[in-house]
Amino acid sequence: MVASRLIAGAPGADGTPRLGLHFRLAPEWHVYWKHPGDAGAPPQVAIAVGGAAGGAADGDGTAFQPEILYPAPQRFRLPGGLEALGYAGEVVYPLRLSQTAPAGSTITASVDYVACAVECIPYHDELTVTLLAAASPTEIAEDELLRKWEARLPRPVEAAGVDWRLRYRAGDAPEIELEVVSPGLPSSGGEAPSASAAGVARTAELFLEPAPGATFASPERVADPRAVRFRAAVRPEIAGKAPDPLRVAWTLTDAMARDVALAGVATVPAGGEVGASGEGSNAHADAASRRRRARGSRVPSAVIVALLALVPLTAALVLWLIPDRLPLPAGSPSWLRAAGFLAAAVLVWFAYRLGTLLPADRVGAVELSWLAVALAAQGAASTSTAARRRLWLALALLAAGAGLWAAWSPGMLSP
C-alpha cells in the first residue's frame, strides 16, 4: 500500500542536513496533512543522528523531533459528508533539523503515520539515510526530488504580492470569507483576467486549520470573476461562543499558478476584516475592523444571479407545460414523463450546486423561495382558467423575486 524512505539532499546554507520523508502510495490510498480533516492523523517523526561510519559525528543518538513541513494538500471526499486532507500518489514531507550532522553520519527516523483508502492502516517505520561526502547519482536524484517538493510548500502570502482580505462575520451563523486577488485577476476596473490565471484560479482550493475555540466547515467557493473567494462556516467549540478575535491559518492552492500555494495566518475580530495590499515586499496589514464599502464586492457574480433567476423560471415553465399543455401522443406519454424527470434532475443538480456556492445564512431563504415557486407553478399547471393561471404565475415570479432578494440584497450580504 505504502512505500516509505528517508531521503537526503545537499546540506542547507547553514550546514544543517536537508531531509525528506518520501511516500509512494498505491492508488486510492492517502496520507495526511498537518490538519487531517475529519479523520486520520498527521505523521509523527523522531530523528536520531547516529555515529558516522569510520569517523566522528555530532550526534549522540538522542532522538529529537524535527519540524515537519507540509506541501499543499489535496481534499478527499469520504462517505457521509466527511473529508480528508492529505496526499495521494506520492509526497515528500521536507524535514527541518535544528542541528548539523557531518558527512558520513547515519540519520535514523522513527516514523509513525497512517495511510487510508477504504480502510486505515497505522504504520511504524524505522528509516535510515547516510549523509554522503560527495554528491553521488543517488544523492543528486534525491536532492532533485526534495527540491521539487520544497517548491510545493506554501509561500507566505505576505511575500507573494497579492491582495488579500479576511472577513469574520459574527452572529448566529458565524462565517469567514477569504478573498485573494492575484496579479492575473485584477481587483478593479473592467479588465478581464488573463485566461491562464482564470483557468488556474478555477481549480483553487482553500484549506483551513482548526482555530483556538473553533473549527471550520469545508470552505465553499464563491463565484467571483475578480478574485478567488471562499466562505466557511465557523463552528464554535463552545455552543454560541464564537471566538473573538478568531485566529485563522489558511492555505490556498492554485490561486496564482498551478502547484503554487499561499499560506497565511491572521487574527481577525468579530465583524471585522484584516488583509494586506499586494505591493511586493511593501505589503502591509490593514487596520482591523476596516469595512469594505465597494458595491462590487457585495454583489454575487452574474452567474449566481442568472442561475437563481433561471431555476425557478424554468421550473415554472416545465410544470406548466407538462403534461397536458403539450399535444401528447394518446396513451403513450412516457417520453414526456422521462423528459420531465430529466428536467427535474437537472434542477436538483442546479439547486445543490447553488447550495454549495451560497453562504449558509442565505441558503434557507433561497430554498424556501424555490419551494414557493414550485408550488405556485404547480397551481398554475393544474388550474383550468386563464385568470387563475396568471395569478399563480404572478405568485411564482414573486417568490422568484424573493429568492433573488435573499441572495442579493446588501443587507443580507453585509458583514
Binding site: G40, V118, T215, S382
Partner: protein, 199 residues
C-alpha cells in the same frame, strides 16, 4: 393534479433539503441530541432515560485499527471502570453495505474478546452519528447530568499509541466534572479511521 407535477414538486423538496444536509456538530455546552438505539440484544437505549447521570458516548468500529488498539489496550474499559457511576455507551455507525459492517453477533464476540461489557448500540443509518458530528473511530462525547455536552474529541493525545506519557482526555473530563471543576480541554481534535457511514 397530475402525476408528473407531484414528482417534480417532490424533486424540488429534495433539492431544497440537499444543501441543508451539511454535517451537524454537537458543540460543547449544547444539548446532546436525543436518540433511541438498539444494543446487541435488541434492547432500546433512550438517551433521555439516562438524564441525571453522566453519559459517555464512544464511536466504535471493530475493523478500525485505532478502535481495535484501544480495545486491546483496554483504554476505554479501564476508563469506564474508573468511573463506574458513568453510563458508557459504544455506538457503531457503520453502514450496512460497508465492508467494515459487523453483525451484532460479531460485535458481541469482539466485545467478549476485549472485555467490553458496556452496551454497544447500532446506528447503521448513521443518523445519530451525523447528529453528533462523529467523524472518527474512536470519537468521544461526554454528556453531563443535564444532558449537555461537556467534552467532545479524542480519547487521548497519542494517536499512534507510542507516547511515553499519555493524557486521557475523557478520564480527565470525568474526573474534573466529578470534582465540580470545569472540563479543560473541553474539545480536542479526534483521530482515527473515518466513521464508515453508509452514504
Amino acid at each position: 393534479m397530475n402525476h408528473n407535477a407531484h414528482r417534480l414538486v417532490l424533486a424540488f423538496a429534495v433539492a431544497a433539503l440537499l444543501p441543508a444536509c451539511a454535517r451537524a456538530e454537537s458543540a460543547v455546552g449544547a444539548p446532546a441530541p436525543d436518540f433511541t438505539l438498539p444494543d446487541l440484544a435488541g434492547k432500546a437505549h433512550h438517551l433521555a432515560d439516562y438524564k441525571g447521570r453522566v453519559v459517555v458516548l464512544e464511536w466504535v468500529n471493530p475493523n478500525c485499527p485505532f478502535s481495535r488498539r484501544h480495545a486491546e489496550e483496554g483504554t476505554m474499559t479501564r476508563t469506564a471502570a474508573a468511573h463506574s457511576d458513568v453510563v458508557w455507551l459504544g455506538i457503531n455507525s457503520t453502514g450496512k453495505k460497508h465492508g467494515d459492517f459487523v453483525t451484532p453477533d460479531k460485535q458481541a464476540s469482539y466485545d467478549r474478546e476485549h472485555g467490553i461489557t458496556y452496551p454497544v448500540l447500532f446506528d447503521s443509518d448513521g443518523k445519530v452519528g451525523h447528529a453528533y458530528g462523529a467523524s472518527t473511530t474512536p470519537h468521544m462525547f461526554v454528556i453531563d447530568e443535564q444532558g449537555k455536552v461537556i467534552y467532545r474529541g479524542a480519547i487521548d493525545d497519542d494517536p499512534y499509541g507510542r507516547g511515553k506519557k499519555r493524557t486521557n482526555y475523557v478520564d480527565a473530563a470525568l474526573t474534573a466534572h466529578a470534582a465540580g471543576k470545569p472540563v479543560q480541554p473541553a474539545s480536542t481534535t479526534s483521530y482515527g479511521c473515518s466513521v464508515k457511514y453508509g452514504g
